[in-house]
Symmetry: none
Subunit: 424 residues, 2 copies
Amino acid sequence: MTHALRVFSLAVGDELLDGRVADANTRDLGDALAQLGLELCGARTVPDARSAIVAALRAAVDEADVVVTSGGLGPTSDDITGECVAEAAGVGLRFDAEAFARIGMMFAARAIPMPESNRRQALLPSSAQTLHNDQGTAPGFVTPFASARGASEVWSFPGVPREYRHLLEERLVPRLRARLAQGAPSVMVRRTLRSLGLSESAVGERLGALEREHPDVRVQYRAAFPEILVRVIVTGADRDAATARADELALRARSDIGGSVYGAGDEPLEERALRALEQRGATLAVAESCTGGLVAKRLTDVPGSSAVVQGGVVAYANQVKTAALGVPTTMLDEHGAVSEAVARAMAEGARARLGATWALSTTGIAGPSGGSADKPVGLVWFGVAGPGGTAAHQKRLPDFGRERIREMASAWALRFLLEAVERT
Amino acid sequence: MTHALRVFSLAVGDELLDGRVADANTRDLGDALAQLGLELCGARTVPDARSAIVAALRAAVDEADVVVTSGGLGPTSDDITGECVAEAAGVGLRFDAEAFARIGMMFAARAIPMPESNRRQALLPSSAQTLHNDQGTAPGFVTPFASARGASEVWSFPGVPREYRHLLEERLVPRLRARLAQGAPSVMVRRTLRSLGLSESAVGERLGALEREHPDVRVQYRAAFPEILVRVIVTGADRDAATARADELALRARSDIGGSVYGAGDEPLEERALRALEQRGATLAVAESCTGGLVAKRLTDVPGSSAVVQGGVVAYANQVKTAALGVPTTMLDEHGAVSEAVARAMAEGARARLGATWALSTTGIAGPSGGSADKPVGLVWFGVAGPGGTAAHQKRLPDFGRERIREMASAWALRFLLEAVERT
């Protein structure tokens, strides 16, 4: 390539400008580009207004080789991205019969009559290539533009994050990778480390020496809150050599980062914990106070989790801790609900009453209220009860707000469980 | 009618373009403007690069009366928003001694020595008015610009969301309110309807006639899966007239859409249900099978929910339905876990055992496996037990996949609860 590939994000939608939604698609696009060693050159958000969309498209194609629009592909009257791309490209609209047939099949598969208005979703710029979307009704499309940069491409994706990510990962990323591969080293070997408990900057500091000593190796950091994912990427001509080096550097990175690394690979914490249990023919019960169902929700999000997860108790009120988990009221009075004793009793009660091999408990202060000097917001006790007995752990999580405290607590709970199960 | 005040959001920072962070400040700005009946005319994100920031500033002031920048006010070398605003405005920099003194006091208060680099934070465009920031070290500032619109203002806030919101609410909002009071820009009145059970396109079709009969009224659709939010937006010179018309059209829209509308306003389903319970001094317990903790998680995401939510049981395995909720094994054998009888028994068991005024249950088939001809994936039974007895509801949710079925089921569960409580 004569110049670095420039990519621009153009988000379309009133809901992004009137306070209803924050634009997460631009972040996901930037993240996908980072995996390729690219970066967005800029981003723009425009309302559902033809003149604004067309003007932004014309400016964007002069600024970037690849412009990715999100939103405005739906069936309703305020979805006009397709028309605007056609106008900006100076072409008409074509009716894509195959895309329309796929929309029809989607509705048929769900036994829902298709509203006539969905026909609009099959009207695409006449010069555009259709990107079929298995995740929703709106197809995406790529439209070539003549631009100040010579030629640019406008990729139009639906605004629904799941559908956006689907087309981003399935269609755009492979295309960009191919474009970058021209003349690039033949193999790229990636190793991922998963860290929980250190900030991104702290992890980065610990890998500073490794990065300096190996300037040709790319180290990527991704904050998948509350986890930090570190990717060591080795490129080279020979696969075996690159693989060996990636493995060696991953080991080095693991020891440089230290104890916050709990695992490797791209498998999420909940799936890894479920797999560890399933491999041992074990079952699980959860007893949640401060996480309020989040741990159970994360576990049961995984298809097939019912083979392992017996169930759980969300014991918010003390009376429920006693009635459903058998935590003695005297213990609650003596130690308080947020205590090691209660965390242990909750886990043991869940394990016994729900008849599971393992049980996991959380009790803490998620805030915003309820904290005190000796039991501040963010203090969480965890219990892990198993065939070999019960362990308790304490964490003082930083007060990043209720939602984040609950996310951190659920991640630590799953990590404590995973480590206990893997030791058996 | 003078033009409505145009406001533009300019976010500065590499971290917004490389996948690390999603820009929440633009959303918060749009939200604050919505309270004033205003809307962002656009938003732009640029990297920490002088030429990009200066060019974006110059374009923005020609587009908007008020441009709000976020980020780039920190002490490090890549924080250059102040210099760029000065360059774009064609002025120099001044050292603000008072701002510098406040920065020093901040460090003193935390007993931390102040790095020399923080001095940079007190260098502001010479024509700018300082906006002291009680939430952090970086002061904000407001800089006047000559622009294609005559005169524009650039408000520069720190990127840290808490500091951004602080200056937004304490400084910008009052200024805008004052400007709106004297000038006579058009007022904008919004009404939101919340619909559950129809696709976005089906809702749009039902409002087609209203849209055609009132071409000057904006109707916005937003899919907040599984809900469809419809906004009717009336613009006019007179607030009372616009309000009356918005109310009238919202009523019309409600009857055109029909039974899928369950409420109005921007309050999420879980918050509304909790409020309805709290107003009646009632408490809640949940018993979840197919939603696996998602209903409890959604409810306990809300701060203060512990005043209402006693807790819940995630009864995934039949043995847990029996042990923790007292569902008779004979009933499970006879009717199966996914049945009206079991949904009722789960709700009644949770209500009795967890000692709550109300209890809510879900039992269904989230898939991908476990479906059958008479009990297909997507079939869900709901139970709502309250002081006046127990009701059961059945839904055959479209098979959009496990995760979405669980999201739909949790929304229907909360809707059934809300409607039952509101009837009391």
